[in-house]
């Protein structure tokens, strides 16, 4: 009943696009314009590289997170998986195991962590909020157990170059290539295949989805596995970028990931959202952070601004949705009385 995006060529689809994604694009354009005024360096290719790389891990993790939120769940554990991935990678490297074994190994660990989340949510019937809060502590704890307070460096230059460097001859950093690939693949899956349609159906109405033959357990578990794997990949990228593996890597990232997803127009209650919106949100946030830095605004303000952005990006559509729902409810006629008096959750 929301005004947000539903699949199919409904008028809602067009309206939803007209509202949120375009609005975001306008905000982004405005920020770029302000940035170019604030600092002469802003529009340089070097700065473009800087600003995207600064948020690349959260950007990559926001993509599978969007699918999870659209399916009606959430994964708070991603930031700890970044730490676990970084720690294990560093531990293995320090133990003399080559990266071509280490990297696949941490990706497998990410998948297993996601599998744990997924099974507890689907088979265990537990709310993903609490499950992933538990694994948020668990994965971070394991990272600490693996590496302790140490940090591992002296990674080979080919590896760290993957974090720092650009694709030769372009201002495009390697991690951005990874982001683009993941975004395109997930965008296609979500918006062009029936798997994506089933994900929307799950978030809209899980009962109906299940009765319609959607394999709820398999689909949701798969999404958590994807999220865990991508988080582990983000851990690898972070390790490469800082040329250092640490147990506390990624701390606090979940907040930014969730902020990007919701700022991108994904409905926190599930069932709607677009990858395009999330990609726009990534750049909006990246430009905002970059502009704040170039304007010499205190770093402390950034965590405040991200928090505010998160709340605002939910409050605004929420208030709009409530107005819309009140309208729909009146039109829908004999809806249960509950809806008319219960204030949300």
């Amino acid at each position: 009943m929301s005004s947000a995006v539903a699949p199919g060529r409904s008028t809602n689809w067009v309206r939803g696009l007209a509202r949120w994604e375009v609005l975001l694009a306008l905000i982004l354009a405005a920020l770029v314009w302000i940035g170019s005024i604030v600092s002469p360096f802003f529009l340089t290719p070097g700065n473009f590289s800087n600003l995207t790389v600064a948020v690349i891990e959260v950007a990559i993790m926001a993509l599978p997170m969007s699918l999870i939120v659209i399916a009606g769940e959430i994964d708070l554990s991603v930031e700890s998986m970044v730490g676990l991935s970084s720690s294990v990678l560093g531990y293995l490297w320090a133990a003399g195991i080559p990266l071509w074994i280490g990297i696949p190994a941490v990706l497998v660990i990410g998948a297993l962590g996601g599998l744990l989340n997924g099974l507890l949510v689907t088979r265990g019937g537990l709310p993903s909020l609490v499950v992933t809060l538990g694994t948020l502590a668990l994965f971070r704890g394991l990272a600490l157990v693996v590496l302790g307070p140490r940090s591992i460096s002296q990674f080979p230059p080919e590896f760290t170059n993957f974090g720092f460097g650009n694709v030769p001859g372009t201002p495009i950093p390697w991690p951005l290539v990874v982001f683009t690939i993941v975004a395109v693949v997930l965008g296609l899956v979500l918006h062009r295949t029936w798997v994506g349609r089933q994900i929307f159906a799950l978030g809209r109405n899980q009962g109906t989805a299940r009765y319609s033959g959607v394999r709820v357990v398999r689909t949701k578990t798969g999404l958590f596995v994807l999220s865990g794997t991508i988080a582990a990949l983000a851990g690898v990228i972070l390790t490469a970028r800082f040329a250092s593996a640490r147990a506390d890597a990624g701390q606090g990232m979940t907040l930014t990931v969730v902020t990007i997803v919701l700022l991108g127009g994904v409905n926190i209650f599930g069932g709607s959202g677009t990858i395009l919106g999330v990609v726009l949100a990534v750049f909006t946030l990246a430009v905002l952070e970059n502009a704040l830095r170039l304007a010499n605004i205190a770093a402390e303000l950034q965590s405040i601004s991200v928090g505010l952005l998160l709340i605002v990006s939910v409050t605004v559509p929420n208030v709009a949705r409530q107005a819309g729902q009140a309208f729909h409810r009146v039109r829908a006629g004999r809806s249960p009385p509950s809806g008319s008096i219960v204030p949300g959750e």
Binding site: G8, W194, A201, G213, R331, G333, R334
Partner: protein, 528 residues
């Protein structure tokens, strides 16, 4: 057209504030609109102290809306409520209760984690010293209420885990716990046993003796005649008639409700083919026991019984949502075991669930997206959805079932109930099933749409589908089915051929009276 009843003023004596007139509750010209739907249109109703007033009407006639206005859940758009000639504005459910309006809602709305006693008294708990809650006297009072109802329930145990019938009894006790001037019973008997219904009626009569005005909303006309003094019929949000019950016959009531002679269901002439689905000794511990039956191609097998008899639970097992503890299911002779609806679907079993909104449709998906949802993997084996294919398929089925819409891109939520039901059936037909299970396929849709759905079901059977029809509407089951199975408390209590089945026989078996007479309330579970 039936001539409207005379205005309220001539029905009841004129109001004189100082005279010792009996307590009276009046609704005057109440209207309530939901968007395009005029749910209640200028309805007046007076409830006299010491009467049982029945409110009847088809689904969607406006009964529930009217009750909710009186219960303070909806504010009327226009019109007013008078208590003893005093104009009142009911500011909410709690306010309604303060004014002495007690409601037993159709659906129990209780707090599963709180105790039975607390559920009964929540909001007006007896207070002890310092205004704290007096738990002891609360439990005693609750126990007394249930004694009055002749029900054994542990008032200290939480509501979680009580049966629907017991929960309904808690609702009734809740309503009785306040000193009510108006007691509203909104279809309270659906899940009660015969004995419990008798007790409820006895209590309603007691309340009447005490001068309470009882408003009794019901579908079961025999109960209306048994209990009520006067009856008001609503149709399409308007009041058709208010009259003394004794002046009316069942046929009168039915005519007033539907406004025309009852439509005949289309007859089906089918030749049954081979057995497509067979169940042998199916048992699921908390739902049904030793259920065996078979359905042939081209046959409609009716499942009759009261709500909660275990019919939906059987359908859920056949469709792979739940699993049977023991027993066997055979599909075209082959034993099958579905672990998910997806598995049932790919074997040609389709289930049109009872709850359209929670289990049937995605309301904010388009018609096309709803119709294709169960067959997406089959339709698009290469993952990518081709919208044109999808729309053509949906348009084809929508046309065959004459769904009225602006096109297959319209959101299902914007359709009327009858058209939603047709989309739901279209969705399951698109899976090209061999066995189609329909669970209350005409619930909550208007009479015209009902007849259409019946025609569709008959056509489907004629085309060779095996159909299982679960319905609580006796005339529907009787008219549509080739054979009828009657269930009572998880067991099949009768199997009747079409020619032999009568409403009385089915009702007899559905209430299980043959088997073991009146069943007392469910025993209070204890720790073992």
């Amino acid at each position: 057209m039936i001539s409207p009843t005379p205005p309220i003023a001539s029905v009841i004596p004129s109001v004189s504030p100082e005279a010792a007139i009996p307590l009276r509750t009046e609704l005057r010209d109440i209207s309530k609109r939901f968007g395009a739907t005029q749910a209640v249109d200028s309805v007046s109703l007076d409830l006299r102290s010491g009467e049982v007033h029945a409110l009847v009407g088809e689904n969607g006639a406006g009964k529930s809306t009217l009750v909710k206005v009186l219960a303070g859940i909806y504010a009327p758009d226009s019109g007013s409520i008078f208590l003893d000639g005093q104009r009142m504005v009911i500011r909410g459910p709690a306010n309604a209760r303060q004014l002495g309006i007690a409601v037993v809602h159709q659906e129990p709305s209780l707090f599963p984690d709180l105790s039975v006693a607390e559920n009964v008294f929540l909001g007006h708990q007896p207070s002890g010293r310092f205004g704290s809650i007096a738990w002891g006297s609360m439990r005693t009072a609750a126990r007394r209420l249930f004694e009055e109802l002749d029900v054994r329930l542990d008032v200290a145990s939480p509501v979680r885990g009580l049966s629907m019938a017991d929960q309904q009894l808690v609702e009734i006790a809740k309503a009785l716990s306040v000193e009510a001037r108006v007691l509203i019973l909104d279809e309270p008997t659906a899940s009660l046993s015969a004995h419990e219904v008798d007790r409820l009626f006895a209590i309603a009569r007691q309340a009447r003796e005490r001068g309470v005005a009882v408003l009794f909303v019901n579908h079961r006309l025999e109960e209306v005649f048994e209990l009520s003094d006067r009856v008001t019929v609503l149709r399409d949000g308007r009041r058709v008639i208010t009259a003394d019950t004794s002046d009316l016959t069942t046929a009168d009531l039915v005519r007033h409700m539907v406004g025309r002679d009852v439509t005949m269901f289309p007859k089906v002439a089918t030749t049954a083919g081979e057995v497509l689905l067979e169940a042998r000794d199916l048992t699921r511990s908390d739902a049904f026991m030793n259920v065996s039956f078979s359905v042939r191609a081209g046959e409609i097998l009716g499942f009759a019984g009261l709500v909660g008899a275990g019919r939906t639970e059987i359908a859920r097992v056949l469709f792979g949502i739940d699993r049977a503890d023991s027993g066997e299911i055979r599909l075209a002779g082959q034993p099958v075991r579905f672990d998910s609806p997806a598995a049932a679907l790919s074997n040609g079993v389709a289930y049109v669930p009872e709850d359209r909104h929670q289990e049937g449709l995605v309301l904010d998906f388009s018609i096309a997206s709803n119709v294709s949802l169960p067959i997406l993997p089959r339709l698009f084996p290469r993952l990518f959805v081709h919208r044109e294919t999808e729309r053509r398929l949906a348009a084809d089925y929508a046309e065959r079932l004459s769904v009225r819409s602006t096109g297959v891109d319209q959101l299902v939520g914007a359709l009327s109930g009858g058209n939603q039901q047709k989309v739901l059936i279209a969705k399951w037909l698109a899976t090209k099933p061999r066995v189609l299970i329909l669970d209350e396929p005409t619930r909550g849709i208007d009479i015209g749409a009902k007849a259409e759905v019946h025609r569709i079901i008959a056509d489907l059977a004629a085309s060779g589908l095996a159909i299982i029809l679960i319905s609580s509407e006796l005339p529907e089951v009787l008219a549509m089915s080739d054979r009828i199975l009657v269930m009572h408390e998880g067991r099949i209590t009768a199997e009747l051929a079409r020619a032999d089945a009568t409403e009385e026989q089915v009702m007899f078996a559905a209430t299980g009276q043959q088997a073991h007479g009146d069943r007392p309330t469910a025993p209070v579970p204890t720790v073992d």
